[in-house]
């Protein structure tokens, strides 16, 4: 009997310890799975999977960067000289053009002559560059030279200024516009939310009576509880039209609208943490300040706020974390244009919103899919950094208590 009880106790403790490790395990798994998918991007080819680029064998060009390929097919780069070849106007050729050049009979009933015809086209056009499925490559044809597909490099990913993940033949995975979008939207959200939140925190901790505090506290908790998609809907239905009309913009869905919504969403975090920090200011310090003849306001900004400064810092950092990771509200109100932002009053696209908007359409395992996971990794790293630094800051704060 006693032994049985001992065994149950031991088993229960083991089960409890196991549960205790779940959150650590989850983080570990998130890291493993996210990075496994995301880092796969750097091994994959910059040309769409299953396709190849080929030129005439007399063409001296051996390699093209993804950006050059994109420019060629967009007709922005028109002469081979600009791509490191000899003079001659580039003739971009897409596979489907074959069907307008040849009749069905010439291509063969089951398409068995496709490769041969393709070889003919390339052989008679010395300045051609063709984008074709690998299975129809005219392999035996001496006039055809296949360009090796370049791998997507970390520098192209982190330094690229173009995010065109579905462009053919060369999708562009430049993450800078998305990072800048996130930075702009979050930065201005915090710039709006910080003075507001700090003011309310001072009001709640120093000025408001117990009754008002009792009313304001649940109000702020409610503000934190409203789902982000409802904020997004509110921004879409109210803020965006309001901004468009008052500022006479072509569209209201701008970085500014996103910042406003994010500011409202970050307010509860900032207010709660800053207020807690201010309340922890020892009474003795306030009394000493008042006894020296300072007014309550002077006491607040010379004693209470400096004393709570690291708590306020933590509030700002955590508020930023909330803003950076917010998905739905930003997705719904910022207009989602993946371009480098130049002003607050234009549509931008943030990292989380990009993942939410594009993952559904990205084929699993492809470069686009992997690039979205890599965005997830970036987001994960940023929020981890924020979370750890907030812990460090508030850890310093608790050591300062008297």
């Amino acid at each position: 009997m006693k032994r049985l009880r001992l065994i149950t106790e031991r088993l229960a403790e083991a089960a409890l310890a196991l549960s205790g490790s779940v959150s650590s395990l989850a983080i570990l798994l998130i890291i493993v799975f996210l990075f496994r998918e995301g880092l796969g991007l750097f091994g994959s080819s910059s040309v769409e999977k299953g396709y190849a680029l080929c030129v005439h064998s007399s063409n001296p060009v051996e390699q093209l960067t993804p950006q050059q390929v994109k420019q060629i097919f967009d007709r922005e780069l028109t002469d081979w000289r600009e791509a490191g070849g000899r003079q001659g106007e580039i003739v971009p050729f897409r596979f489907d053009e074959l069907f307008s050049l040849y009749s069905e009979e010439e291509l063969g009933e089951d398409g068995e002559l496709l490769a041969q015809r393709l070889g003919e086209v390339i052989a008679r056009t010395p300045d051609v560059i063709a984008f074709v499925p690998e299975e129809y490559l005219p392999r035996g044809n001496r006039a055809v030279k296949v360009l090796p597909a370049e791998k997507i490099s970390p520098s192209a990913f982190f330094g690229g200024r173009e995010w065109l993940p579905t462009a053919t033949p060369a999708p562009q995975f430049g993450v800078l516009p998305l990072i800048m979008g996130t930075v702009w939207v979050s930065l201005f959200a915090i710039l709006i939310a910080l003075p507001l939140g700090l003011g309310v925190a001072i009001y709640m901790s120093e000025l408001a009576g117990a009754r008002i505090r009792k009313l304001l506290k649940p109000t702020i908790e409610l503000l934190a509880g409203i789902p982000s998609v409802v904020y997004g809907f509110f921004g879409l239905a109210v803020l965006a039209p309001l901004i468009r009309e008052t500022l006479h913009l072509p569209v209201g869905e701008t970085a500014f609208a996103g910042s406003l919504i994010l500011a409202i969403m970050a307010l509860p975090t900032i207010i709660t943490i800053a207020e807690d920090a201010m309340r922890r200011t020892p009474l003795a310090m306030r009394e000493a300040s008042l006894a020296l003849g300072a007014t309550p306001w002077q006491t607040i900004y010379r004693v209470v706020v400096p004393c709570a400064s690291s708590g306020i810092m933590a509030a700002v950092v955590l508020g930023t974390g909330r803003a950076v990771g917010e998905t739905m509200a930003v997705l719904m109100v910022t207009g989602n244009a993946a371009v480098m932002p130049h002003s607050l009053f234009q549509p931008v696209r943030a990292i989380p919103a990009t993942i939410a908007a594009e993952l559904g359409e990205a084929p699993a395992g492809g470069a686009h899919y992997q690039s979205l996971f890599l965005l997830g990794c970036i987001l994960f790293a940023i929020t981890m950094l924020i979370s750890v630094s907030a812990e460090y800051i508030s850890g310093k704060n608790s050591g300062k208590e008297i």
Binding site: A17, I30, S228, V230, L236, G325, M332, L372
Partner: protein, 279 residues
């Protein structure tokens, strides 16, 4: 000094009062806007029928049912694990590096953006474990998301129990497990339930984690197993607000859906607040 310090104080304090009012005003603006526009849409029919005519008419019943499934599933997974985890941290492990590590990890888990949970749920639950887009995959993802909230509230509830109760129980010859089961947990129960209620509110509003793990664009039938896809309220609101067949025509439905979501969150907050007061 150019300004009298009394005047300065008056101006500053007036400003702070104004800011306090402003924040309350923002909340009432948002709530008022949604309640004002949504209340006319809510009817028994709206709550109990499926969407019709390309989601521009009819109700939102499948979305409500789907959200209920997800709430039940995720809480059923996260609540026991969260409570046990908190019991281990507070009752078994002392204040050693292990507990500090778990606490830091729990905090970090709580700070990960919801879209990252969505990505993770998609690779692990949907693809690697082969659950597919299903209630099970969605519940697992949402369960991980609310785990930190449950652990934190349970830990606080356990910390509030004075140590004398534990020593008293142990002195009477009860084992540690018995003490926890018969003394500590029942006493902490109301506060633990508060955490449960808050996590129900949180789960019912999350969109990003379910985008790629469970949510269906339009599926006017009830789920028949753990492996079926469902519609969900927050995703439904997102869909009809941004990409429905006719955005103008489906606006009233969007207001109604937003109102239902807000009412759920309000109710949960209210319930949690009352429970806290009862103690």
């Amino acid at each position: 000094m150019t300004m009298n310090k009394k005047t300065e104080q008056k101006i500053a304090f007036a400003l702070f009062r104004l800011l306090g009012l402003l924040v309350a005003g923002i909340l009432f603006w948002i709530l008022g806007f949604i309640i004002y526009n949504g209340i006319g849409v809510i009817s028994w029919e709206f709550l109990t029928t499926a969407p019709t005519e390309g989601m521009t008419a009819g109700g939102i019943f499948p979305a409500i049912a789907g959200t209920l499934c997800l709430v039940a599933g995720s809480v059923a997974l996260a609540f026991p694990v969260g409570v046990m985890s908190a019991v281990y941290m507070n009752e078994y492990a002392g204040n050693n590096w292990m507990v500090r590590f778990i606490r830091v990890m729990t905090n970090n888990l709580g700070s990960i953006p919801s879209i990252v949970f969505g990505l993770f749920g998609m690779t692990l639950f949907v693809n690697t474990l082969g659950f597919g887009d299903s209630i099970l995959a969605g519940s697992c993802t949402l369960g991980l998301l609310v785990l930190p909230l449950i652990i934190r509230t349970t830990e606080e509830a356990l910390k509030a129990i004075p140590g004398s109760f534990r020593t008293g129980s142990l002195a009477l010859g009860a084992s540690k497990l018995q003490t926890i089961r018969k003394v500590v947990l029942p006493m902490a129960f109301p506060n633990i339930v508060t955490g449960l209620i808050l996590s129900v509110g949180r789960v019912s509003g999350e969109t990003a984690p379910i985008l790629f793990t469970v949510a269906a664009y339009f599926l006017p039938k009830l789920p028949d197993s753990l492996f079926s896809q469902v519609m969900a309220l927050p995703y439904h609101l997102y869909v009809i607000a941004t990409s429905g067949t006719d955005i103008e025509a489906s606006r009233p439905i969007a207001y109604g859906t937003a109102l239902v979501l807000i009412v759920i969150v309000l109710l949960m907050n209210l319930l949690a607040a009352t429970l806290r007061k009862l103690k």
